[in-house]
């Protein structure tokens, strides 16, 4: 009798685990700790949406207004929280609308899992309604992708998806699930993925290489650190700061690495790259040792490779072996997770200071200040500059806000002048330069860190690429602060036309709508300012607001961003005007 009962019970629990593929998808997400996803429904993903309806108390689905918005929101969420962002879409156009976000996440190493519906297995290859080969299309822009055609594959494939997205050098994964696999039943059990035999997420550090690096550091007269996002992704902020402080080495960042170290740290010398600071660029070609930490020598950082740091020994701390000697030949490559390698390095380096060398950065800063920064931050001309708006945001938010930027002049100005005290605070589309990124990414960032102040800084061009996501902010009363720096131009392109195409402003002047009215249409508190005396008050009001807030700042139409390394030029030929 007892045994029979037990057996019956077991059968019952077993029976409970017999679920549809669609329900299994939800269980997998819950097992991975996901409580928020971004997406857009449609025919081929309806079974999963039906389950989302049933599980809405455990798993929140945010209906973005375009699938591209779902990917950027998932990215913003991932970038601020360090967790995997999840986006979901239907087959065909839903799936192809994910491509820009996938490419962005791929080049900026953002952990993201995208789930797409697909036509039933028996229709694959028949040009069925809304069939598109999203696995083929997304291959070059995903770290991994896979098409599930059988319900029983779902748990293992999704477990693998999350593992691959998050481990090693993170990246986007796309899982395409045919409709039959969503309807069919499977015996569900979940095991987290802890390894894939053909995949080494993190090479283990080689102590010999670390010793070589330490020796170079200990003997260098003019050592210089350039760090990138690898420090943030590897959560190696403290290790980097310890290294900088012990060795006294001046350190600069790529835009993807910004905020890893306090902007006001005395050894933080600023930004490298095309619109970076003067000293960090020029002195790249004067240091005797360049320590590149978690960065990949992007061409926007290096300028002309033939004249990049040729005089220096170069040490590359990097998690991805494929980055070694890809763009810049290095003398020592230290493979591994930056947190681990820097930790191993630290005891081997001597306590030191490089005051004289650091003074060269200060001198260059003075030069940049008097020709560029002063006019950007404390202008005397009547028109507002983008720089002074960023400065007001710094002041009003006490440098605590996370700044999410779009792409263009405002992005470069924001990265140059925004100040941060906390890591993971600068969220921008660095590698792909995706206009339209900021608004949805800010939504994701606010949802990933509800306690943080999130300010989106966007150009009037890029704003109109994903403006429909205002609907999400309105619907969820999400207190995102939106600042549109309106110059009535596609400013960055106009700047290039002015400098390199003799002011032929081909299709860069914008005829803009009334942005304040649009925000009002979404019942978002909003304001437009165009005068200096209104700016501070408006920014303070925006930051104080507990609600979503839209602030349009009318800025000077034809300002340029300087310094600038003209494309193809050397970092030492950076122009101050």
């Amino acid at each position: 009798m007892e045994t029979l009962k037990a057996e019956k019970k077991e059968k019952k629990t077993k029976k409970q685990l017999r679920i549809s593929g669609a329900e299994a998808v939800i269980h997998c997400l819950l097992e991975e700790g996901v409580d928020l996803i971004f997406g857009y429904p449609g025919g081929a993903i309806m079974p999963v949406y039906d389950e989302l309806y049933k599980f809405q108390d455990k798993l929140t689905h945010i209906l973005t207004r375009h699938e591209q918005g779902a990917t950027h929101s998932a990215q913003g969420y991932a970038r601020i929280s360090g967790r995997v962002g999840v986006a979901i879409a239907t087959s065909g156009p839903g799936a192809t609308n994910l491509v820009t976000g996938l490419a962005d996440a791929q080049i900026d190493s953002t952990p993201m899992v995208c789930i797409t519906g697909q036509v039933p297995r028996h229709l694959l290859g028949s040009d069925a309604f809304q069939e598109t080969d999203i696995v083929g299309i997304s291959t070059p822009v995903t770290k991994w992708n896979y098409q599930v055609t059988k319900a029983e594959e779902i748990p293992t494939v999704l477990a693998k998806a999350f593992y691959i997205a998050k481990s090693g050098r993170p990246g986007p994964v796309l899982i395409d699930i045919t409709k039959n696999a969503q309807f069919d039943e499977l015996d569900f059990s979940y095991e987290k993925c802890t390894g894939v035999r053909s995949y080494v997420p993190e090479p283990s550090p080689d102590v010999k290489e670390i010793e070589k690096a330490a020796e170079l550091i200990n003997n260098a007269k003019k050592p210089y650190i350039v760090w990138g996002q690898g420090v943030i992704l590897g959560e190696a902020e403290k290790e980097l700061q310890d290294l900088i402080e012990k060795t006294g080495i001046p350190a600069a960042w790529t835009i993807m690495g910004e905020s890893a170290i306090d902007s006001d740290h005395p050894l933080n010398v600023g930004m490298v790259g095309m619109h970076g600071n003067y000293g960090p660029n020029v002195l790249t070609n004067e240091c005797d040792l360049l320590l590149a930490i978690g960065m990949r020598f992007d061409d926007r950082v290096t300028g002309n490779l033939d004249t990049y740091a040729k005089q220096a020994k170069i040490v590359h701390f990097e998690i991805d072996p494929a980055e070694i000697n890809k763009n810049v030949k290095v003398d020592v490559a230290v493979l591994g997770n930056a947190k681990e390698t820097l930790k191993l390095l630290l005891p081997k380096v001597n306590k030191n200071s490089h005051d004289q060398w650091k003074a060269e950065f200060d001198k260059k800063y003075e030069e940049e200040f008097s020709t560029v920064i002063k006019n950007d931050l404390h202008p005397t001309k009547p028109g507002l500059t983008m720089g002074e708006v960023i400065e007001q945001i710094n002041l009003a938010s006490e440098q605590k806000a996370a700044i999410v930027t779009d792409v263009g002049q405002h992005q470069m100005v924001a990265c140059r002048y925004a100040k941060f005290k906390q890591s993971k605070s600068n969220i921008t589309s660095g590698g792909l330069g995706t206009m339209g990124f900021a608004l949805p990414a800010a939504i994701g960032a606010k949802m990933g860190a509800p306690d943080r102040e999130v300010v989106a800084v966007i150009g009037d061009g890029g704003y109109q690429m994903t403006i429909q996501e205002l609907g999400v902010i309105f619907q969820h009363k999400l207190p995102v602060k939106i600042v549109v720096l309106n110059n009535d131009f596609l400013g960055m392109v106009r700047q290039w036309q002015q400098l390199f195409f003799e002011k032929r402003y081909a299709s860069t002047e914008l005829v803009n709508p009334d942005f304040v009215k649009i925000a009002e249409g979404y019942h978002i508190q909003s304001k437009r300012v165009s005068k200096r005396e209104e700016l501070q008050g408006a920014v303070e009001e925006m930051i104080r607001s507990k609600e979503p807030y839209f602030l349009e700042v009318v800025v000077e139409k034809e300002d340029n961003v300087f310094p600038m390394i003209p494309s193809g030029a050397s970092v030492s030929d950076i122009r101050l005007k």
């Binding site: 696995v135 083929g136 291959t139 070059p140 770290k143 991994w144 992708n145 896979y146 098409q147 691959i164 802890t194 390894g195 894939v196 035999r197 053909s198 995949y199 991805d320 072996p321 494929a322 070694i324 000697n325 890809k326």
Partner: protein, 176 residues
Amino acid sequence: MENQWFTISVYSENSVGLLNRISGIFLKRHINIESLNVSKSEIEEVSKFTIVVYTTQDWVRKIVQQIEKQIEVIKAFYHTDDETIYQESALFKIASNLLFDERQIQNIIKESHAQIVTVARDFFVLAKTGRRFEIDEMYEKLEPFGILQFVRSGRITVSKAKMPITELLEEFHLNN
């Protein structure tokens, strides 16, 4: 840096999309795949791609780094021709009358150690297995007489050095 012949060997999981992923790496860099062969390897459930390219050492190194980065690739190597034992096969289809009219053809067949696979009324077929240049030589010799069809197989290679794939896989199983 000068262009030379390289053989890239890729050990991978046997997965559907991988060929697409790998060919994309070449596509992106405008590097032509001169020959491609996919087969099972000495290890159960492990596939082997053998890819021949004519490029510089710098490019082949970068390509192999990118290939190895793909999740389903276990390990990728590149070798120069000296570092491998390799073979390619080719078939030549030639008009039958030439076999009788052109004595030279018979000499070519003998000298090149080619095999006559079949002789029909209108054509005969020669098969030649060997190094790339041997097949090229035979092609050049036969060409003046007219070749009706020519096809060359993908290269198959074994390396002179050890390929520690089994060890890699064992190490994974020990750690997981």
